[in-house]
């Protein structure tokens, strides 16, 4: 029965909703003002990477610029290792959850999360806690442990890597959001945005066998992620990419957002260079240099329009 009490309760929620919408409206209006022409947004501090992300994405035009109504989204975190979040080996699950929620707010029809892990996939999905946080936010966590999920894809611009088995979702999703974590890497020096894409191919050892740097750059030519978000909240500065103990991790509290993979990697390289990762500038890392030559992005950070925010 539709009682008076029920009607009043509904009326109350309705007014509350309107009130809060108007309360938030100034902020929304502000975010749309000429804010979306930054090449890279760099943030630091705050309560967590989720807060940084929600702040930063507004300076690139908000999530609505990247995710349109009804589109399917693939979020590609780094969860390659069977390690808990505080070791910094995997992307921060808090960040993943925030991104998923923003995607749904922007009208995404479905959000998928996957990674072809190094350690056994179930342990990785579970212990990185990304599965738990993603499911909570409403995303579908998709396995990548069997060739059934992969399709053979030619890489026309690849010099050494001409073909690869690529995860179905990477080729099919309307929007790709690449969410790597910034880490030291024992052989390439740095792993960040471009290296993270290695987790959507089936045969990783082929890259190692051929020429790791060249293959990383080659694969980046296949499909550029619509948005890349580099998690630098906890940065593994040595013993990467797996890390040994928590002492390998520095709590930098960074978050870099860009559509330019190469610029993001350069920003990450600038952070790691300070920690003695074995290179001085981004272009000392060969795959970044090759990617720049391919015209995939820019390494000259001083020329880019960067929004720097400290919270």
């Amino acid at each position: 029965m539709y009682t008076r009490r029920k009607f009043l309760t509904k009326l109350k929620t309705f007014f509350e909703g309107t009130f809060f919408t108007f309360l938030l409206f100034p902020a929304l209006a502000e975010s749309s003002e000429e804010k979306n022409d930054y090449d890279l947004v760099a943030l630091k501090g705050g309560r967590g990477p989720d807060e940084l992300f929600r702040n930063g994405i507004n300076y690139l035009g908000g999530m609505k610029r990247f995710v349109k109504k009804g589109q399917s989204v693939l979020i590609k975190p780094n969860m390659g290792w069977d390690r808990s979040p505080e070791y910094g080996a995997n992307t921060n699950p808090v960040l993943i959850e925030a991104i998923i929620r923003e995607c749904f707010n922007a009208g995404a029809s479905s959000v998928y999360v996957m990674d072809h892990t190094c350690d056994s996939w179930k342990s990785c999905y579970k212990n990185s806690r990304i599965e738990e946080y993603s499911v909570r936010a409403g995303a579908k966590v998709v396995p990548a442990n069997s060739t059934d999920y992969y399709v053979k894809t030619p890489i026309p611009r690849g010099r050494l890597l001409k073909e690869a088995l690529v995860h179905k979702l990477y080729m099919q999703s309307d929007v790709i959001i690449n969410v790597p974590v910034l880490k030291h890497h024992s052989s390439t020096g740095i792993t960040a945005s471009m290296k993270n894409l290695m987790g959507v191919v089936w045969d990783r050892s082929e890259w190692h066998r051929k020429d790791l740097h060249q293959c990383i750059a080659d694969f980046a030519t296949l499909r550029r992620p619509n948005l890349s978000i580099l998690d630098g909240w906890r940065v593994m500065v040595r013993n990467g990419p797996r890390g040994y103990s928590k002492s390998d991790v520095v709590n930098y509290q960074y978050l870099f957002i860009s559509t330019d993979l190469v610029a993001l990697d350069s920003a990450g390289a600038a952070v790691l260079a300070k920690e003695g990762a074995g290179f001085r500038t981004a272009e000392d890392v060969r795959y970044i240099k090759i990617a720049k030559q391919y015209g995939l992005g820019r390494t000259d950070l001083d020329q880019l329009k960067i929004k720097r925010i400290s919270i």
Partner: protein, 529 residues
Amino acid sequence: MVSAVTFIALLTFIFFDIYNLIPAPAVRYIVLTQFIPSFLDFFTSLSPAFYFFILIIILTLITGRAYCSFMCPLGIFQDIVIRVSSSLRKGKSFAFGRAYNFIRYGILSATAAVLIFTGTFFLLWFDPFSIYGRFAFYIVSPVIIKINNFIAVTMIKFNQYTLQAVEIKPVSTVPVIITLIIILLIVISAIFKGRLYCNTVCPVGALLGIISKISFLKITLNKDTCVNCGKCERVCKSSCIYFKEGTVDFTRCVLCFNCLAVCPNSSTGFSTAFPVKVKKDNFNQKSTAAGASFVSPVISRKNFLSGMVFLPAVVTLPSGKEQKLYFQDAAKQVQYKRKVFASPPGSVGIDEFNSRCTACSLCISRCPSTVLRPAVFQYGIYGMLQPFLDFSSGYCNYDCIICGQVCPTGAISKTDIAEKHLIRTGKSVFIKENCITYTNNTVCGACSEHCPTKAVHMIPFKKGLVIPEVDNSLCTGCGACEHVCPVRPFRAIYVDGIRKHDKAKLPVKKEDIKVETKKKAVRKEDFPF
């Protein structure tokens, strides 16, 4: 009947639980309801566990070999086979046969002697749970996984990801064939001779048979009311009723109660060995300590259909999917001959492991990284079918202790993660001449990437290149480096097992790096660019 179906369902399910619905410690307790596992666990681990085999012995002292019909998965499996075959061939019947006591007690005493002096070598081949476990894992689970994968792959086509396609664990051909032969022999003997295996070969059956000689309740024939129809003898799976003489060889009786069901005037009874009769109705309500309830011995249609699950168990052997693309010239490579194949961490050493493991393959089925595989001759003849660490199919996860958690016999002892980090099962050997960095002058470093302790680390090589170096004091022998090394046909890094596990050093933790946080104002120096 309920208990029989529950036991076989649970004990089969744990071998293909691809979604990990039952956690590892629970799996162990499910298996510890079996006689041999709980018996071995009692002597190997000596830790507070539950000693189900004592309960089984007490149960046998009261009722006879109820275990064989209601709890043993191999026994229940044979019952299903018998039921299926007799419904296919109507009019087929069993008849009294003599007991092969020489073989039966011979195997029992040989098993006992071998167990005391060397180890589980005989149990590995004769323990009913291990035989059934291998059957469930090598033959039933691939079929189930294939069905699952078929559905999953169909669903993937429509972008549905609720079911997961799972790789079938690679098992070499020999163990599958051995298992298949053993199970076929048992199936054939079950079809023609009923519970022949249980009463001639099975050491558990023999032992419980001896105990059942003095059991309180027994199957009896009442000569006064018997009409000599002989039905009881014809339905007796154990061939232990000789109605002409009016005798029942109770050491062979597995308490299927078929004889009670067919007797036209209740001349067969289940009663105390003393002349005092227990009425048939009484024991119908009686339930035992193990929760086994003796209701009706008739297998219903539903159970019959559940038995049909096993019929399509046709194995397709996994083919070797080695990659063909090699950048290396085999002639220029150094071949490395592995000296020792490592046993799972927690097994103390290879000799100890070989003498404790019954090769039930439970750990192999639960290993999340597929590093455990059944040995053929890797351990020699004594350790056939026992799991060894095969780094070509996986590597031992640094933070995983599942094999120790599930091992029901205590062959792989339970460890916690901190203990496991210190166990060294092997040492790595780096062969520089095979390394990609050395031969191709490109970076690789996959071994060092995966090394959990950084025993394999990178040192400067030529300009802009780094090459692996091994510090074996830190190495745990997990085999990650060997597994991921992309060089073929011979890898550039190998892990050689050690016969007696020792301790690895923990890497020295460096001091924490402190970074000042919480800046309010936007400052250029917050960012390095």
